[in-house]
Amino acid sequence: MQKIKEKIIEFILRATALITILTTIGIIWVLLSESLVFFKEVSIIDFLTDTQWTPLFANKHFGILPLISGTILTTIIAISVSLPIGLTIAIYLSEYAPKKLKKFIKPLLEILAAVPTVVYGFFALMVVTPFLQKLIPEMAGFNSLSAGIVMGIMIIPFISSLSEDALSAVPKSLREASYGMGATKLQTSFKVMIPAASSGIIVSVILAFSRAIGETMIVAIAAGQQPRLTLNPLVPVETITAYIVQVSLGDVQHDSLEYRTIFAAGITLFVFTFILNNISFWIRKKFREEYD
């Protein structure tokens, strides 16, 4: 009797764990099935090469490139903000700060990642853009610069925390060897610690990239809704995520072509993040073996 009960319980537990697999299958199935219908009507070549994205207009174009460029532009701005700051924090915390300070600052920085993104969107639109417009008068009210900067602030803890872990995982003996040669902490950090922790730092940057690409509300609020193939950070753009929000807010008929565009956009986004996550996964695995 007891044995049967144990078996049943284990079965239930396993079933709940398998829900996570079902989720993945569900995501891929939903994205694929709707996109496949979409690609029956729109050629995949047009989708990947047309430079205009106007599915909601009378003159319809289905080129994803403008959405990709908007996404990458905001992401690059975000990374250029968060990488130097995050890496500096990581070095400071692992090489300079006393242990007590480190214990205090790390959770404090996590607050940056805990703030709801819609709040950051407000910040970008209502505070950062007006401030930047004073410096750059020709800047538009919606632009990728403000959105990118604010997104960068949000992902600082992603980079600082994972990079700090990577630096702390470097064997202490390397640090001592460098100090023993008369190197300063700064020299030790940049000439020994960062190269030795490089794979972990790269992982942190890739994950931050993936996070920024998938970020939605900041760009939906502050970057605009104008798909545009541009690298100009001062004008409105639209990201993949912002487009999905735009369509979701509107009155689009289910089973229409317009409706399926969000799945085509979604699968593009999913492919990007999936590749990035797996690269980071692969590097991490390799890196772990290195130090074992």
């Binding site: 996570t20 920085l109 970020e215």
Partner: protein, 285 residues
């Protein structure tokens, strides 16, 4: 200046840069929160909390928004927490190092990296349309539950890992079965850590906007949900809606609503950190 002096100078300058980098993000956040409190604090009063949305900014309130958030949080909790803890227990306690476990592990870390808006698309197709739930509280809760599942599973595993194996050995030694050991000994010992993870996950769900927009949560709902099958809006969507309007009065409403949302988020995170510290002290026996 000798090279040594230069290096020492650079070194001490970097120390200040490090302090600056640590504080810049927090300082900006503080400025911003100060700004929002300045804008919105006076807008918060009883009628703001108890009024329905309105075309007129000064009459509009967040009643539907916070009650919608409450409905969503309760149902997300009911769905995600048992499944998440159970899956975590399976992976940590019943883990036989086989292919299935490895696949589950890789899969969960991949799911944690899927953008939240993709979960919205999943929810839209599976719950809203195929399951015929419509854009209801239940559809939104299922969607968010899947989104926070990886967080709860990972937190559960971490908490179980911290429980010393001597506890398990002692229980097995008394003839307890695996499940009895897990249920009566291991889970109670890990409860503090699990609780922390659950609170953080729920706090994440409270702040989520994009997936709920995609499953069709409305920007304007003139009533509060009466049941799980009703349509709904949530606090972050209400904020988004107000931010998107050009009139300044709505921005003030948004600021006021943000104060409420941040108060909820920070309180939950604070409680989570409190439990974590308390529990970590206890687990170091």
């Amino acid at each position: 200046m000798t090279n040594g002096e230069k290096n020492r100078l650079k070194d001490s300058i970097f120390k200040y840069i490090g302090v600056f980098a640590c504080s810049i993000g927090l300082i900006l956040l503080a400025i911003f929160i100060g700004n929002i409190i300045y804008d919105g604090f006076n807008r918060i009063d009883w009628s703001f909390l108890t009024s329905l949305p309105s075309r007129k900014a000064e009459k509009a309130g967040i009643l539907t928004a916070w009650s919608g958030s409450l409905w969503i949080v309760i149902f997300t909790f009911i769905i995600a927490v048992p499944i998440g803890i159970s899956a975590g227990v399976y992976l940590e306690e019943y883990n036989r190092k086989n292919k299935l476990t490895r696949l589950l592990e890789i899969n969960i870390s991949n799911l944690a990296g899927v953008p939240s808006i993709i979960y919205g698309l999943l929810g839209l197709e599976i719950f809203v349309r195929l399951s015929n739930l419509g854009s209801s509280v239940l559809a939104g809760s299922f969607t968010l539950a899947l989104l926070i599942l990886p967080i709860i599973i990972v937190a559960t595993r971490e908490a179980l890992k911290a429980v010393p194996s001597s506890i398990r050995a002692a229980s097995f030694g008394l003839g307890a079965t695996k499940w009895q050991t897990t249920w009566y000994q291991v889970l109670p010992a890990a409860s503090g850590g699990i609780l922390t993870g659950v609170i953080l996950a729920i706090s994440r769900a409270v702040g989520e906007t994009a997936p709920l927009i995609v499953v069709g949560a409305l920007a304007y709902v003139p009533f509060t949900p009466k049941g799980p099958m009703d349509e709904f809006t949530v606090l972050p969507i209400q904020i988004f809606n107000w931010v998107s309007r050009p009139q300044h009065e709505f921005a003030i409403n948004a600021a006021a609503a943000i104060i409420i949302l941040l108060a909820i988020t920070f309180t939950m995170n604070g409680i989570a950190v409190y439990f974590r510290n308390k529990w970590q002290k206890k687990i170091n026996w």
